[in-house]
């Protein structure tokens, strides 16, 4: 998607501004999906990351992820919750964006099947990564540093089956759907970057 006529400065400024929007969308609106798991909230900060990927290239999407994470740490740090939750969120967002951009490199209203396949694979990939990150990183770290032992309090199988899996599956479908709708609406704007 990157073109020779898009200057390096334009890419830098666009990534910076999309990161600022992504950070804003991390804070509001947040939608709790799973009853009893108020810490699992759906946000829409993925959309500017996906936009960066399609308007510029995949590395721009990754820089947007890095920058919005730094903004979150600097401006809206929630202490232990941020330090332990952000790595899981970071991996989920990266996996989702990379699979979306890899399976569907161009947005086209003619190829609905490929769009749905991209959303499906991205959702499965993200859910898998979320399970792995929760299992090996978040659950042990929460138990160690927040005295919140999910295995004892909720039960690991219940936590994964009733919370992590449905949350990530719903999140992936909503992320993919919203991103595709927004991308198809703002597609004509892309010409501005190449003119």
């Amino acid at each position: 998607m990157s073109t020779a006529t898009t200057t390096r400065t334009q890419k830098l400024t666009l990534i910076a501004i999309l990161s600022a929007i992504s950070f804003g969308l991390m804070l509001f609106p947040q939608v709790p999906i799973i009853p009893g798991a108020s810490f699992l909230k759906l946000d829409f900060s993925i959309v500017p990351i996906i936009i960066a990927g399609y308007w510029i290239d995949i590395s721009a999407a990754m820089w947007t992820v890095v920058l919005r994470t730094l903004l979150k740490l600097i401006l809206a740090n929630e202490g232990v919750n941020t330090y332990l939750g952000l790595p899981v969120n970071l991996v989920a967002v990266v996996v989702f964006s990379v699979i979306m951009l890899w399976v569907m490199p161009y947005v086209s209203s003619k190829n609905i099947g490929r769009s749905l396949l991209a959303i499906l694979l991205a959702t499965i990939g993200m859910t898998g990564s979320a399970v792995i990150m929760n299992w090996f990183v978040a659950v042990p770290l929460y138990a160690q540093f927040a005295n919140f032992n999910i295995a004892k309090i909720i039960g690991l199988s219940r936590y994964f089956i009733a919370m992590v899996l449905p949350f990530n599956l719903i999140q992936g479908i909503v992320w993919g759907g919203v991103s595709l709708i927004v991308l198809s609406i703002v597609k004509p704007l892309q010409n501005k970057l190449t003119s």
């Binding site: 400065t9 830098l12 400024t13 609106p29 903004l71 005295n147 309090i153 919203v178 703002v186």
Partner: protein
Amino acid sequence: MNNIMIGRFVPGNSWVHRLDPRTKMIVTFVYIIVMLWANNWQTYAWTAAFVVALVKLTDQPFKLYWDGLKPIFWLILFTVILQLLFTPGTPILFSVGPFQVTVPGILNAIYVMVRFVLIILMSTILTLTTPPTSIANALESLLSPFKKIGVPVAELALMLAIALRFVPLLMDEMQKIMNAQKSRGMSFSTGGPIKRAKAIIPLLIPLFIGALQRALDLANAMEVRGFKDAVQRTKYRILSYQKIDKVAFTALIGFVIIFFVIKTWLHG
């Protein structure tokens, strides 16, 4: 939404304000790592004393710190209640239905609350006394060793500085669009995920249109002023460590040593 970060930096001339931003970032980082090792009331008391001393040195009213804690009040409360009800052990003080409130549960709840509050206070000290642009400069300086392995640290710092500059503007714009949509009957805070996803689309479209225009305008403005490469950029403020920073590093080393002395010898 805006009160989370806008106006978070409060100018001043306190001892903490005058520290190099890199010093403040290193102290914050080391403190948080050390804090995660606290496991008894003595170590919690020592880490709390360190933060309280720093808060005092910032010469800022406590209300500002309280504002930093308010956004996560419910999260802290939720975690504390979970600790109270689900920590097994003896002696059992009383039962609430199938749940038992135990002495270890009360201790855990207090420790978790203190840990949350102290880490947030420490992060608030950094953001209250350091302008965001200085944080970006400090980050560039601290990450400079990564240039050797090809990380574009200068570009990252430039993008971070631009993003920090635009966050308040974009938050204002978001608020305006949301108010405009609300006045047309749209609700962003009710309904399930699909309904809310539908509601967010009319918010995102104008945001992206504005973002693209701003980015292109800014890029043009930078290029007509001769901007070519973030690497060759000169800086208005050059960071340099002063005597006061050496004092801060000495205090930090003292804090860490005493922490581990308390942890190892006073409690085992």
